[in-house]
């Protein structure tokens, strides 16, 4: 809530790194690895009074047809180390990292996250993810990891173990030994770090499956979603908020924040034109073929990106083998794309641009501010995870142009009222469970 008691929008900024939303080859793109890039983005987010800055994770470079994927931003710093450095150049901004539970151990990760919370004065966040494929596993001692069905039980046990470690120091500063022997983890001994400024770093969850939603309701302080449009957003919001009561939690204990993109312009028409230009930068002719190959599971390198879609059908087994699960039914996708292409007379590249497009907020700053404000208090979202297209300046115009309008509307803070990420999110400090 704002000081006036009105609902507050929460804003987070995502680093526009390894993803198809990034326009990495435009003349305004900078380095994706130099510290100055991250410093610029974090300082901009803090200038805009954002709740937190957020980093995704990648533990193996992606490959396509057995070769390292070269059409996308690839390579990034290790998140927790980077966030500790960003803590030195920011004062209030929350600092959140995605760290999976599959290739880490609870004791070590709990210690690293608690260290970040201490060193940042209570600004740490942890996006818990469970990706555990054998492909990534080849970089780790464990090799391939637990069954998919086990993913969330492992995650739940991981988080519970971390919380037990974070709670193992009494409020008067004494360490009490932990002895925990679970199904996945056995931890015995004393945690070396006292209770951190936030009690527990903020826990974030991303994932749309039924188990993912249940995990969010049980454990998370923040849930990211892909549901950026109002209708799907409201359905997701209602569903997840309703699950909280079963865990003795209030609806406000979990903030739901869709990941969204934005393109601004001096007029709505100009913003649309810029959005189209951004999409063309994101989808080069080579990239269009690559996306098509990922759907078809076939070598389509002989096809002309400016020509029609292939007549041959996808190879569903090859798709599964290379992309893992979650890619959907390739034959149905191919049929849909062919229809789209025929109806609008689109080439391969145009079809890919159209079919994979999804600019969430396009328009003048006034329109974007009004649309965002409309989400808040209407049971659609508690805020947004903004995904800029450009590095490192992609957030500048949002902070300069949209934030003041959100403040005018009274839906966004005009100053930080607290020092911790929990306080920005309006979350209470977890009760110490000795």
């Amino acid at each position: 809530m704002t000081d006036e008691g009105r609902p507050t929008l929460h804003l987070a900024a995502h680093f526009p790194g390894v993803s198809s939303t990034t326009a990495q080859n435009s003349s305004t793109s900078g380095s994706h690895i130099d510290f100055g890039t991250f410093e610029h983005l974090a300082r901009t987010a803090e200038r805009g009074l954002f709740d937190f800055f957020f980093l995704a994770e990648g533990l193996r470079l992606r490959e396509h047809k057995g070769l390292i994927h070269d059409l996308d931003v690839t390579g990034r710093p290790e998140s927790i180390t980077l966030l500790n450095a960003l803590a030195a150049v920011t004062d209030r901004l929350g600092l959140a990292a995605t760290v999976n539970v599959s290739f880490n151990e609870p004791y070590e990760l709990a210690r690293r996250l608690s260290s970040l919370d201490h060193l940042s004065g209570g600004r740490a966040g942890w996006n818990v993810v469970t990706a555990a494929d054998a492909f990534t596993g080849e970089n780790f001692r464990h090799g391939s990891c637990p069954d998919r069905v086990d993913r969330y039980t492992r995650a739940a046990e991981f988080v519970a173990t971390a919380r037990e470690l974070w709670d193992s120091w009494t409020p008067d500063g004494r360490a009490r030994p932990v002895a925990r022997a679970g199904r996945h983890f056995a931890v015995e001994g004393e945690f070396t770090v006292p209770r951190s400024p936030q009690g527990h770093p903020v826990v974030i969850q991303t994932g749309d499956s039924d188990e993912g939603r249940e995990f969010a309701a049980a454990f998370a302080d923040v849930a990211f979603t892909r549901h950026g449009d109002p209708k799907a957003g409201r359905a997701f919001y209602r569903d997840v908020k309703a699950r909280l009561a079963a865990y003795g939690r209030e609806p406000d204990d979990l903030k739901i924040m869709p990941g969204v993109t934005f393109v601004l312009g001096d007029s709505d028409e100009e913003a649309q034109e810029r959005a189209t230009a951004v999409r063309r930068e994101q989808v080069s002719p080579q990239r269009a073929i690559l996306v098509l190959e990922q759907v078809w599971g076939r070598d389509l390198s002989s096809y002309d990106p400016d020509g029609p879609l292939p007549e041959i059908d996808p190879d569903p087994e090859a798709v599964l083998a290379q992309a893992g699960a979650g890619a959907g039914d390739p034959c149905r996708t191919a049929t849909r794309w062919r229809e789209l292409s025929r109806r609008k007379g689109l080439s391969i590249r145009q079809t890919v641009i159209e079919a994979t497009s999804g600019q969430s907020f396009v328009g003048t700053a006034g329109r974007v501010a009004a649309e965002m404000a409309g989400y808040v208090g209407s049971g659609t979202a508690d805020g947004f995870l903004l995904v800029p297209h450009r590095t490192p300046g992609g957030l500048d115009e949002f902070v300069d142009e949209v934030v003041p309008l959100l403040q005018e509307r009274g839906v966004f803070r005009t100053r930080y009222s607290g020092t911790t990420l929990r306080s920005h999110l309006g979350l209470t400090e977890p009760v110490w469970k000795g």
């Binding site: 990495q24 080859n25 690895i33 130099d34 510290f35 990648g58 533990l59 193996r60 470079l61 070769l67 390292i68 070269d70 059409l71 996308d72 931003v73 690839t74 390579g75 990034r76 710093p77 290790e78 927790i80 180390t81 980077l82 500790n84 450095a85 803590a87 030195a88 150049v89 290739f103 880490n104 151990e105 004791y107 070590e108 210690r111 690293r112 608690s114 260290s115 970040l116 201490h118 060193l119 940042s120 004065g121 080849e138 970089n139 780790f140 001692r141 090799g143 360490a175 022997a181 056995a186 931890v187 015995e188 001994g189 070396t192 770090v193 006292p194 080069s284 002719p285 080579q286 990239r287």
Partner: protein, 360 residues
């Protein structure tokens, strides 16, 4: 020696556990004012205190020149994570990262992970050597200039400059390449403290370390150790002059006047070392004399000083000991370069994958 010798000085930040960033920033800023080569921060999963690498990453943007060398154990960690974390420390400090290779020998540490029992030191140091090898390969797994940003094709990297490392160790394997591009120093500086590390630890140091920390009670003993390390390094195909051997010394500068303790350290008067030569107690001026004397005797390449009382002793080291060494032109008055390797006079390593491509 063929290269122009220069004295190297480092300090340890270890002390009673502290949980605030300002404490460490103040210490490192002070050490930087003394133009020291680097600071170290020890770590163990069972030691009270914060993650050492996190602390030095937090300090990095607040400092500009000094090297930052946290201990990271190789026993319960993932080699891949170690490589990306240290590489990232190098990125955020713009080329000032090092890595103190550590092992976790105790049952107490093993129980915190519940994965494997405590193992003999030799076995752990053998594994540490494999981890150091795998980590260095991961640092090399991106050749310099692998990022291309080709506007025409949309290609972001030249994948012919990215390499799977396919490392097969006895206890782990890593496919690679790293997810972090090659760090500014090529390879961050690898430091190994061989005290208590046994023969296997010494071998690991001779094979993989850029900086080796030793203990000795006389210049002759130190020189003999250094010669042995150089020979070991040569056996492993390394140029011995690419190794910096530093004497680790716990220092207590609480005493302004040295008290004579005959028979210890081989000096009849003035500053002295207690047996077995890991502890100095006396004044900052006498410490400068000891450093200058051992250095002049070509016993070591420098010193790694571990203050008993971090704030007090570090201040006396910088304002007393270092100032005097600078005045006598034994120690430099400014950081000669921007990276830790440059301070240490170590070349930026050529990338093994680029080299092997060139020779094939």
């Amino acid at each position: 020696m063929s290269r122009t010798r220069s004295l190297h000085l480092a300090v340890a930040l270890d002390g009673p556990a502290r949980y605030d960033a300002d404490h460490y920033t103040d210490l490192v800023t002070l050490a930087e004012r003394g133009t020291l080569d680097f600071v170290t921060l020890g770590d163990s999963f069972a030691r009270p205190g914060l993650d050492a690498l996190a602390v030095l990453a937090r300090v990095a943007p607040a400092t500009r020149r000094i090297g930052l060398v946290p201990t990271v154990t190789t026993t319960h960690t993932e080699p891949f994570h170690v490589s990306t974390a240290v590489a990232t420390l190098d990125w955020v400090s713009r080329g000032r990262a090092g890595w103190g290779v550590g092992v976790s020998p105790t049952q107490a540490e093993a129980r915190l992970f519940g994965r494997r029992p405590a193992a003999p030191t030799d076995e752990l140091w053998r594994e540490a050597g494999e981890v150091a090898d795998a980590v260095a390969r991961l640092w090399d797994s991106w050749e310099d200039g692998a990022e291309i940003h080709d506007k025409e094709t949309g290609r972001y990297v030249d994948r012919s400059k990215l390499h799977h490392v396919d490392f097969e160790g006895t206890r782990f394997s890593v496919r690679g390449p790293s997810t972090v591009p090659r760090p500014p120093q090529g390879r961050p500086v690898t430091a190994i403290d061989i005290t208590g590390a046994g023969d296997e630890g010494r071998r690991t140091a001779a094979r993989h370390a850029d900086v080796v920390l030793i203990r000795a009670s006389s210049p002759e003993q130190a020189a003999a150790l250094r010669t042995a390390l150089h020979q070991d390094a040569e056996t492993h195909g390394r140029d011995p002059s690419s190794l910096r051997v530093l004497l680790s010394l716990a220092v207590d500068l609480g005493e302004s006047e040295p008290r004579p303790e005959p028979g210890l350290g081989g000096y009849s008067c003035g500053p002295r070392l207690t047996t077995p030569g890991s502890h100095y107690s006396g004044g900052p001026v006498e410490l400068a004399e000891l450093i200058a004397r051992w250095y002049a005797a070509d016993a070591v390449d420098g010193f790694h000083l571990a203050p008993i009382a971090p704030h007090r002793d570090l201040e006396r080291i910088v304002n007393g000991t270092v100032a005097l060494l600078q005045h006598r032109s034994v120690f430099r008055t400014f950081h000669p370069g921007g990276t830790l390797r440059e301070h240490l006079g170590l070349a930026r390593p050529a990338n093994r994958y680029a080299l092997s491509k060139g020779s094939s």
